[in-house]
C-alpha cells in the first residue's frame, strides 16, 4: 500500500455485506400490502426461475471491503460482473437490498445528504447536456453542489486548461467534442465540487491510448493535490496495475480476492513466472477478463 495514506478516524469507505438483487420472485400483492417482504437469498444462492418471469440476478452479492483515505482502490471485473451496480449503490443511486456502506463514518442510508456531500461519480458514459458547452455544464454541476458561480468559473477555467482543452472549445456544445474530451470534462466536473471520495466507473473505457494516459495522470494528480480517495472500476488490467494501490476482483457480483496488484500476482506466481493481473483473474474465476476472441468476432 502507498505511503501516502494517513491514519484517519474512519475509513474513507466501509462497505459491509452489501447486496443488490433484481427480478426476485415477489409475494402476491395482497401479502405485500400486509407487510410481506421479498425473501432475500443467502450468499451465492438464487431462487429458481419462475416460468414466464425474468431470471433472478444477484448483481452485487454480499460484498464487503474497506478503503483507507488517500487510497486508489480498483474493482476489477468483466462487463456484467456488478462493478457499476456497486458504484451506484455507494452513490445512493440504488438502494441496497441488504448491507450498507459508510463514507468517512457517514451511513449512506441514515444520512444520505451527508454522504452525497463527500462523493462524486464519473460514469462510463459521460452524461452531459450535450447542447451546452463544457463551461456551461461545469457551472451547472457546480451550482448543484452549492459552489458559487464566480468560484466555479475560476476553478472550471483552471481544470479545463489543465486537461488540455483549447480555449475556444470551452464554449462549443459538448456534442461536437470527441468522446475522450467529453470524458475528461466529466472528470473535471467531478473535481470541481472537491469530493473527498471519487467514484470512477470505467473512466477510460473507449478512450484512445493517449487520452487514457492523460486521464490516468490527471487522476493521480488529483488524488495527490486534492487529498481525495478514489474507487475506480475497470476491466483494463494495465490501468489497474498502474493506478491502484489495491484491487478487488469481482465475479458474478461477488468479490473473490482483494489485495495489492503485486500481492495478487505473487499469490499465483510459480516457477519464476511473472503473472499478470489477467492471469490472476483467470486463476480466480476460470474466465478471461476481456474476451479478445469475442471482440475480434464482433469486429469481423
Amino acid at each position: 500500500m502507498s505511503t501516502r495514506h494517513r491514519p484517519a478516524e474512519h475509513p474513507a469507505l466501509d462497505v459491509e455485506n452489501i447486496s443488490k438483487f433484481f427480478h426476485l420472485p415477489q409475494p402476491p400483492l395482497w401479502k405485500r400490502l400486509l407487510g410481506a417482504r421479498v425473501e432475500l437469498p443467502e450468499p451465492g444462492e438464487l431462487p429458481a426461475v419462475v416460468e414466464g418471469e425474468k431470471a433472478p440476478v444477484a448483481a452485487v452479492d454480499h460484498v464487503s471491503f474497506r478503503i483507507e483515505r488517500g487510497e486508489i482502490f480498483g474493482v476489477l471485473g468483466p462487463n456484467g460482473s456488478g462493478k457499476s451496480t456497486l458504484i451506484r449503490l455507494i452513490s445512493t443511486l440504488l438502494t441496497a437490498d441488504r448491507g450498507n456502506a459508510k463514507i468517512f463514518g457517514v451511513d449512506i442510508r441514515a444520512d444520505e445528504m451527508g454522504a452525497k456531500q463527500m462523493i462524486s461519480r464519473v460514469s462510463v458514459d459521460a452524461a452531459f447536456f450535450k447542447k451546452l458547452s463544457p463551461m456551461e455544464n461545469l457551472l451547472y454541476g457546480a451550482r448543484l453542489y452549492g459552489v458559487t458561480g464566480a468560484e466555479a468559473k475560476v476553478k472550471a477555467y483552471e481544470i479545463l486548461a489543465r486537461l488540455g482543452l483549447k480555449r475556444p472549445t470551452y464554449t462549443e456544445p459538448m456534442e461536437e467534442m470527441s468522446r475522450g474530451m467529453q470524458q475528461k470534462v466529466a472528470i473535471a466536473r467531478a473535481f470541481l465540487t472537491s469530493p473527498i471520495l471519487l467514484l470512477l466507473d470505467e473512466p477510460t473505457t473507449g478512450l484512445d491510448p493517449r487520452s487514457k494516459r492523460e486521464v490516468r495522470a490527471f487522476i493521480e494528480e488529483l488524488r495527490d493535490s486534492h487529498d481525495a480517495t478514489i474507487l475506480i472500476t475497470t476491466h483494463d488490467m494495465e490501468e489497474a496495475d498502474l493506478l491502484c494501490d489495491r484491487v478487488a476482483v469481482i465475479h458474478e457480483g461477488r468479490l473473490v480476492a482483494t489485495d495489492s496488484p503485486a500481492a495478487l500476482k505473487r499469490s499465483i506466481a510459480s516457477n519464476g513466472e511473472q503473472p499478470t493481473l489477467e492471469d490472476v483473474f483467470m486463476r480466480l474465476t476460470g474466465e478471461k477478463l476481456v474476451d479478445h476472441d469475442a471482440i475480434e468476432a464482433a469486429r469481423s
Binding site: 443488490k20 433484481f22 451496480t85 451506484r88 452513490s91 445512493t92 443511486l93 440504488l94 438502494t95 445528504m113 452525497k116 456531500q117 462523493i119 461519480r121 460514469s123 458514459d125 452524461a127 452531459f128 447536456f129 450535450k130 447542447k131 451546452l132 458547452s133 456551461e136 457551472l139 451547472y140 454541476g141 451550482r143 448543484l144 453542489y145 452549492g146 458561480g149 456544445p173
Partner: protein, 262 residues
C-alpha cells in the same frame, strides 16, 4: 435556471420561431370569432369583440399555463434523454430546492413569452383594454401558476419511471386539461360528468378569473373568489407533488430504473 437560460441564449433562433408559431396559431383560433358571424349568420346580441377577447384570453392563459406545466414536467424528461438524471439526483441538494429551482425558469420564461404574444395580439386586433383590470388578471394567473407547477412536478414522475413513454404520457395530462377547463368555451357546454371534473381544475379557476378581470373589469374583492381557491389548491398540491416525486425517486432507486436512458 441557469442551464435553461444558457439553452435559450444558445438557441435564440428557435425562440423566434416558437414566438411566431405561437402567435400565428393563437391568431388562427381568435379569427374564429371574426368568422363566426359569416359562418352562422347574425344573431341578436352577438358581440364579435367580446368573443374575440374571450378567445384571446383562452389562448394566452392556456399558453402560459401549459408552458409552465410542460417545462416543469419536461425537466426530468430532458435529463432522461441526456442521461444526466443520475448526476442530478446524486447531488447533495434537497429535492424541493432542485425542483422549485427548475420551475422558476419555466415561470419567468412563460410569463415573458406569453406577455409578448399578448401585446402582439392586442395590437393586431386593436383591442380596447381600457375597462380591463389587468393587474387583477395577473394576480389570478400567478396564483394559478402554483397549482400548475405542482401538477407539473407530479407529471414529471412519468418520465422518471417510464423513460420511453413518460414524456408522451404527460401530453395526455395536458390535453385533458385543455378539454375540460373551458379554454375556448364555457364549461357549461360540457357533459355533466366533465363539468364535475372541470370545477376542480385550477385551469378553470384561472380562466374564469382572468375573464372576469379583463372582460368585466372585476375588482380584487370579486377576484378573491378565484384567487383564494387557487392559492389553497397550490399550497396543498405543491407539498403533495414533492412528496410523490420523492416517493417515485425512492421506488426508482429500489428497482434500478434510473439507469435506463430514454
Amino acid at each position: 435556471m441557469a442551464r435553461n437560460w444558457h439553452l435559450t441564449k444558445r438557441y435564440w433562433g428557435w425562440e423566434v420561431v416558437w414566438f411566431f408559431y405561437s402567435l400565428t396559431s393563437g391568431l388562427s383560433v381568435v379569427f374564429i370569432a371574426q368568422g363566426a358571424e359569416a359562418l352562422t349568420g347574425t344573431a341578436p346580441g352577438f358581440d364579435v369583440q367580446y368573443l374575440t377577447m374571450y378567445l384571446i384570453i383562452g389562448t394566452l392563459v392556456w399558453r402560459y399555463l401549459s408552458n409552465i406545466f410542460m417545462l416543469t414536467s419536461e425537466v426530468i424528461a430532458w435529463e432522461r434523454w441526456e442521461g444526466t438524471i443520475e448526476y442530478t439526483l446524486m447531488a447533495p441538494v434537497r429535492r424541493w430546492v432542485h425542483l422549485v429551482g427548475q420551475t422558476g425558469y419555466s415561470l419567468i420564461y412563460s410569463l415573458i413569452t406569453t406577455l409578448a404574444i399578448g401585446i402582439a395580439m392586442a395590437l393586431f386586433f386593436e383591442l380596447d383594454l381600457s375597462g380591463a383590470n389587468l393587474l387583477g388578471a395577473g394576480a389570478v394567473i400567478l396564483a394559478g401558476s402554483l397549482s400548475l407547477i405542482a401538477i407539473g412536478i407530479v407529471a414529471s414522475i412519468l418520465p422518471l419511471l417510464y423513460p420511453e413513454r413518460g414524456a408522451q404520457m404527460t401530453s395526455v395530462v395536458v390535453a385533458s386539461f385543455l378539454l375540460i377547463s373551458g379554454v375556448y368555451y364555457p364549461i357549461t357546454v360540457l357533459p355533466d360528468w366533465m363539468q364535475a371534473i372541470a370545477v376542480v381544475s385550477p385551469v378553470t379557476f384561472v380562466l374564469e378569473g382572468t375573464r372576469a378581470a379583463v372582460l368585466e373589469g372585476a375588482g380584487l374583492s370579486e377576484l378573491w373568489a378565484y384567487i383564494l381557491p387557487l392559492l389553497v389548491i397550490g399550497v396543498v398540491a405543491l407539498p403533495i407533488g414533492l412528496r410523490l416525486f420523492r416517493a417515485a425517486e425512492q421506488f426508482a432507486k429500489r428497482t434500478g430504473r434510473l439507469k435506463r436512458v430514454g
